[in-house]
Each structure stands twice: as C-alpha cells, then as structure tokens.
Symmetry: D2
Subunit: 138 residues, 4 copies
C-alpha cells in the first residue's frame, strides 16, 4: 500500500476540499477499504432517505481511494464506467458505510466494486461497480 | 402524454425544490425530453469540469421526468439500476443537455437511456441507462 | 434453502437440457453458490480463451440458480439487467468457477453478483451483476 | 470508414468462422451499423425465445464490428465492460436486428450502444452498452 487510512484522509481533505467533509476513511487494507458517509441535510430526499447522486458519490470516491491507496495519489485517474443497483432505501439519520474491493489494477484500467450499508444493517442498500482510466506515466 | 414541458417544470419546482434550481426541461415529446443542467460552482470539480455525481443526477432526473411525462406524477417511482459511461470531460462554463429516450414502460419496470452533451458539442460527454420500479396501483 | 446442490443439478438437467452439460453446481449455501463451467470447444475463441457470451451464460445461470435455491423452481423468473466487467482473459483448458452472492430477494426483483475465476487463479477473470424479475404468485 | 458492409461480412467469415453463420451485416455507415441474427435452434430457450447469451453475442459482435468499420481489423480489441437491459422477450421464428451507435472512439477505449429489435417490431427487445479496449500501436 502506498497510502494508509490516515494518508487517504489527508489526501481527501487537501485535494477534494469541496466533498471532504462528507467522507471519512474508517479502515484501509490492501485492495479494500471502508468509507463512511456523514450525511447532511443536503444529501437527503423528502422522507429523509439519502439521494441517489450521494450514493453514487460515496461509491465513486470509495473505489477511487482504494485505487490510490495502492498506486499513490494520481489526481488524473478518471471514472470511465459506473454500474449501480439500488436495493433498499437507507433509513434517515444513519451513517452509510461503503465497503470496497479492488478487482483489477491494470496498466491503463482499474476495476473495483462496493457494497453500501446503513450502519447496523447487514443487508446492503446498494451495490456499485466502477472502472477508472489510469493516466500513462511520463 | 400526461405532463408537457411546462407541467414537468412545475412538478420539478414543487416536488424537488432542493434540486429544481439546477434543472430545466427544455423540450418534451412522447417518450423523450431534453433536460438542461444549469451548472453552479457546487457542481464543479477542480479544473472546472462537472462532477460525476452531478452527471448522474442529471441523467437520473431526466429519465425519471420522461417516465412521469407519460404516467403522470407518481412520486414513489424509484431508481433500481443505473449504468453510465463517462466519455469526455465536459468543458467548464457551458450548460449540459441531457437527451432521453423511454425504451420500456411496463407495469412494474420502466427503462430509459440518455446522452449528455455540452451545449454546442455534437459528441456526447456521457451515456446513461436507468431502470425504475413503478409502484403498484391501489 | 428450498433446493440444495443436488436438487439444483437435477433441476438444471431437467429444465435446461440444452445447457446442462456445460454447468455443474459444486457447492450451494444460503444466498451463495459455486457453479463450474466445463468448457467445450464450442465455448472457445481463437487462442483458446472462453468467449464473452459463455462467460455471460455462466454468470446468468449461476445467479439464477442462487435465486431458485432460495425460492424454489420458478421457471418464469427472467433476467432484466446484466452488467459485466471482463478483466483478465481466462486461460485455455481450465475449468471456470463462478461464485455468487444474492444481495436482494424482493417480492418482484432479485439482485445478485458474481466473480468468475479460472480454477487455481486467485484473481477474478470477470465480474457480473444481474437483476431478475420474479413472477407474481397466483 | 475503413471497412464497408461487404468487407465486414468477409472479415466475419474469415476471422470468426465459428459464429459467422449466425450473423450478417445488413447495413453499415460511419459510426453505425445493423447486424442481423439468423436464429438457429441452438440459440433458443424453451418456448422459442432467443437466449440471453445469444442476445449478448449479437450486441457484442455488432458494436465490435462498428469499431472495426472505423479503425480497420484489429483482432486484439477486447470487450472490457458490458451492460444490458432485457425488456421484451423476442418472439420465436423471427430474425433479430441490432442497430448500433459508436459514441466514443478514443486512443485506448471505444464505447458504443445498441438496440435489438425483433424484425417488424418498433419496440426494442433489449438495450446494450459496450466498452472495448484498443491495443496500442506498435
């Protein structure tokens, strides 16, 4: 690993200040991490459920940080494909936890997937798979 | 059609006040519409490009409104699956246009897809396909 | 569980005779199973790698059987959405193993995902997520 | 265009003899083509509907040929991601037509999508989006 939990949280605060307050890396190990969403009213839909775009952002940032934990900070890495299944509405007022797995870390493409849980629930609220293009060295 | 362009814009303002300022339905016809994203600084990433979650929100709201244009306002309709390809970084300072097609409007599931363009560019910035679960009558 | 490993293999032979010779359920537990692909020349591309449609069939049958293991044989259950990432070409002459997880088993929709490995390799060759529509009772 | 309709059909017969009998390019223009599936009993499920893996193969071959029509025969181009929605069961005994669009043709990635119709039906039976990795020159 090139970046551990603390290094990832520092990277998030420095490079993504506009969203860093939403997220906190709770745990990181090789090829996997847990990212916590700290919901604020701006992320909620009527009824108190977390919005789809917020779930997307959670999965996207989580898999992105999982890649960076292995290759170091390469800010040009970009999302090229995303697939999500929304399976259960997360309840209001509960943190969401996103657990990732890095499935491929190639020379030009990286693929990971993630499950999102409402904290304390064993059934996933959403599933995501994400592909990133890694810029060439040079 | 159960709701035309003006009715959709009114619905957006009344039922989704937290995001209505971001979007405007430019045109609506049976099974298709064009939704405009009016970018604000909150939607931008460093370098001025529109963020992934904002592109997701644009596609999700656009296909959702396309369904409602045909079945009328059913606020319980929920996104169950989303797939997106991010193909070109949209430039800063330009409105984005999302053009939708409704591909299936079934009893329990509706499927649509969308292309997102930076205004004035003929090459799509992103592609999305979305599935929604429609609540049973009763 | 409504069907165990042996019951699933019997179901496969009886209800899907045209593909049953390709597949064998190696293990089944609640909400998860391992399906083995027994490759034949018809599934190979030039160079000896397993074709994309064969990988699709493997994931589709595997998640489908995982659902049936929990709800019993409902032959009308149909695939409505599929997402796959092809990450490493599986080598020729090796069985493929598909390991599934059932993520949601709802009243009308079921969602599962799967990883496909070449036997003996710890790195996944492909990833799949699948949604099925379950026919109403009655 | 580097390959027109006739060149694509010749390429299919020479480079993919194991599936060439299933497919025929009906029309090709820049960034788009129509591929016809000539169903045989091997592609059918009980009830006479075309199987999911056959629909996958149809979309995969169709978008792949669309890319090759623009860049010429590069047999190493490989599918990296596929997303499909299965919307209506195609009827038995009818040819299927797959209409593609090339959405991005980059240096390392190409993206296209497709709609599949039963011949004579205006409502799509399935939708697909496909990403391919293009090998570097060298």
């Amino acid at each position: 690993m090139k970046m551990d939990r603390d290094a990832l949280n520092v990277f998030l605060a420095q490079d993504f200040p506009e969203v860093a307050h939403m997220f906190r890396v709770d745990a990181a190990q090789p090829n996997a991490l847990t990212l916590r969403l700290l919901p604020s009213p701006a992320h909620l839909r009527p009824g108190g459920t977390v919005s789809g775009p917020t779930l997307f952002a959670l999965a996207d940032v989580a898999v992105y940080l999982t890649i960076l934990s292995m290759i170091g900070p390469k800010a040009l890495t970009v999302t090229t494909n995303a697939g999500m299944d929304f399976m259960r509405k997360p309840p209001a007022g509960v943190d969401l936890l996103c657990e990732t797995r890095l499935l491929k870390l190639g020379r030009v493409l990286a693929v990971g997937d993630a499950l999102i849980y409402a904290e304390g629930d064993t059934r996933p609220a959403a599933r995501a798979s994400m592909t990133y293009s890694i810029p060439p060295k040079g």
